[in-house]
């Protein structure tokens, strides 16, 4: 008997929540790769070895490589070979889900859940941090002046979505 694996996006059933000052959107489950380097200062050497994916700092010597397109096993092997001298890859695409939060009130919504200073001076575009949103651990990245991306463990994605929706409710 043959069985086909079907991919079910965990937030696939959620329509984007568009309120007056804030928008909550489930992002495509493309790829989320964790990069681990032996040397924490390997960062600059990584960028030239990766494609169009977004490189976001996670911890000293660790980064998340994130993109909207799913990777084929060949893509992944190629990337592994290019990165080999600098960093190792742990594929987390199956385990992490991304949520986008944007709009003039996005910062105010996040400030209800995290103590990270989200001021543009302390947390500029391109900056990222692993933190707690309420009781849920999430990786927070600023992708624009008024837009953020949250990367969360798959099993917590729906809870985080519901929490964010509630936190955003006053900005309707």
């Amino acid at each position: 008997m043959s069985m086909t694996l079907r991919h079910h996006p965990v937030l696939g059933g959620k329509a984007a929540l568009r309120l007056k000052d804030v928008t909550l959107e489930a992002l495509p489950e493309g790829h989320v790769l964790q990069l681990l380097a032996a040397a924490p200062e390997a960062g600059p050497g990584l960028r030239e070895r990766i494609g169009d994916s977004d490189l976001r700092p996670l911890a000293p010597g660790q980064w998340l490589l994130i993109g909207n397109a799913p990777l084929t096993p060949e893509d992944l092997t190629g990337l592994e070979e290019r990165l080999k001298p600098v960093a190792d890859i742990v594929d987390q695409s199956h385990g992490r889900v991304r949520i986008a939060l944007s709009g003039p009130a996005a910062r105010a919504v996040l400030a209800k859940g995290t103590a990270v200073n989200l001021d543009a001076a302390a947390f500029p575009v391109g900056h990222a941090a692993q933190t707690l949103i309420g009781h849920i651990g999430a990786h927070l990245a600023r992708t624009g002046e008024d837009s953020f991306e949250l990367t969360v463990l798959r099993g917590f994605a729906e809870s985080l979505w519901d929490d964010l929706a509630q936190m955003a409710a006053e900005f309707a």
Partner: protein, 91 residues
């Protein structure tokens, strides 16, 4: 948020993001004997004043830190990466 810990990697974060393991003590030699090991595993001074503890930034960078704080005022004097601390206090 009550207490902020200045993680050397992440900046100031609330204590809720951390897990406290306990006193930061140098490990005895494996052959140090039962008394030294009993002391290391079970006996603590519980001082009033500066105290060094291992803190894990569980919900942040996931690095172990050594936090020096005052047990009476809860003022945090210093937080450093445990790997650095370990290198400096190495026997």
């Amino acid at each position: 948020m009550a207490s902020l810990i200045a993680c050397p990697h992440c900046g100031r974060r609330p204590k809720e993001e951390f897990t406290v393991k306990g006193a930061a003590l140098a490990r005895p030699e494996p052959q140090a004997g039962a008394d030294a090991w009993f002391d290391h595993v079970y006996l603590r001074d519980n001082p009033r004043g500066p105290y060094q503890e291992f803190w894990h930034h569980t919900s942040g960078c996931r690095r172990w830190l050594v936090v020096t704080r005052d047990t009476a005022t809860h003022e945090v004097e210093e937080a450093r990466d445990a790997a650095l601390w370990n290198r400096e206090t190495a026997r």
